[in-house]
C-alpha cells in the first residue's frame, strides 16, 4: 500500500490548552494531501479524544500517524497508570476524570467510545503501572 506520509508528535501532559495541537496539525496535513473531508473529521476527532485522555490520565505521551493511500493509522502511546478494565473504560458514560477536568467540559465518559465510533479499527494495549498504547485505523473511502 502506498505510504504518503508519517507524522510524529509529543503530546504535552497536564496542559489542556495545548491538547489538540497534534490532531489540528494532522487535520491540516490531511487536507493538503486531498484526503476526503469526512475521513479527516473522523481522524481529527478520534485523535483529539486520545490526546485529551493522555493529558488527563497519563501526563502526556506521543502520537504517531501514518497515512497511506488506503488508510490512516494512529498510534497514541503513554506511560500512564494503564487501564484496569478496558471493557468498562469503553462503556459510554464511564469516567474516572477528576472534577476540574469535568469543569472544562471533558470527562463525560465519551472519549474511548468516540474513538471507537470514529475509527474502523481500534486496539488497546495496556499494562498497569507501565502505560497504554491505542492503535486506531481509519480507512480512506
Amino acid at each position: 500500500m502506498g505510504e504518503l506520509v508519517k507524522l510524529h508528535y509529543d503530546v504535552p501532559g497536564d496542559d489542556f490548552t495545548r491538547a489538540g495541537e497534534a490532531s489540528s496539525d494532522v487535520k491540516k496535513k490531511l487536507k493538503t494531501l486531498g484526503i476526503d473531508p469526512g475521513c479527516i473529521r473522523k481522524v481529527a476527532i478520534a485523535m483529539y479524544e486520545g490526546e485529551i485522555n493522555m493529558v488527563i490520565h497519563a501526563h502526556g505521551g506521543t502520537a504517531d500517524v501514518e497515512v497511506t493511500t488506503a488508510y490512516i493509522d494512529i498510534a497514541l502511546a503513554d506511560q500512564g497508570p494503564g487501564i484496569p478494565d478496558v471493557a468498562l473504560a469503553m462503556t459510554e458514560g464511564f469516567s474516572t476524570a477528576p472534577e476540574e477536568v469535568r469543569n472544562l467540559g471533558f470527562g463525560a465518559g465519551m472519549g474511548l467510545p468516540n474513538m471507537k465510533k470514529y475509527t474502523d479499527d481500534i486496539r488497546i494495549e495496556t499494562e498497569l503501572g507501565v502505560g497504554t498504547t491505542v492503535y486506531m485505523r481509519v480507512n480512506i473511502a
Binding site: 489542556f16 490548552t17 491538547a19 489538540g20 490532531s23 489540528s24 487535520k27 473531508p37 473529521r41 481529527a44 476527532i45 483529539y48 479524544e49 485529551i52 472544562l104 467540559g105 471533558f106 470527562g107 463525560a108 465518559g109 465519551m110 472519549g111 467510545p113 468516540n114 465510533k117
Partner: protein, 116 residues
C-alpha cells in the same frame, strides 16, 4: 445534501446574538446544544450551529475538529482571551449572547423558519 437552514451572516438578524469572532461565512445545516465537549464531538454534525456555555480554548478546538459552522456562547458566558485568539487563528465563527440556551435555540430556529 444537507438542508441549509441559513448562513452564519444571517445571524445578524437575530437580536441579542452578537458576533465576537468572524471567520469564513458558513452555511448552517443543523442546530445542536450541549456543553460536554466529548458529547459534542460524538454527536454534533458538520455544519451545525452549536450552542454552549463553554467559552474556553477547548471549545474552539472541538468546533474546529467537529467542523461546526459556528459557536453561539449563550447565557452571558464569556469567550476567554485565549479562546478568542485561537478562534481568530483557526477562523472559527463565534457569537455571544445573554440569552439562555433554550431561548437562543428558539431564536435560531425562528431564523431558520424565516421568522427572526
Amino acid at each position: 445534501m444537507d438542508n441549509v437552514l441559513f448562513s452564519t451572516a444571517d445571524l445578524a438578524d437575530c437580536a441579542g446574538i452578537e458576533p465576537v469572532c468572524c471567520g469564513q461565512e458558513r452555511e448552517v445545516t443543523g442546530i445542536y446544544c450541549c456543553d460536554l465537549l466529548s458529547m459534542v464531538m460524538g454527536r454534533a454534525q458538520e455544519g451545525d450551529l452549536w450552542i454552549t456555555v463553554m467559552g474556553n480554548v477547548n471549545a474552539i478546538a472541538v468546533a474546529a475538529l467537529a467542523d461546526v459552522a459556528c459557536i453561539v456562547v449563550a447565557e452571558g458566558a464569556v469567550l476567554d482571551e485565549e479562546a478568542r485568539t485561537k478562534a481568530q487563528q483557526q477562523g472559527i465563527n463565534v457569537y455571544c449572547t445573554e440569552l439562555p440556551v433554550y431561548q437562543t435555540a428558539m431564536a435560531v430556529t425562528a431564523l431558520a423558519a424565516g421568522g427572526a
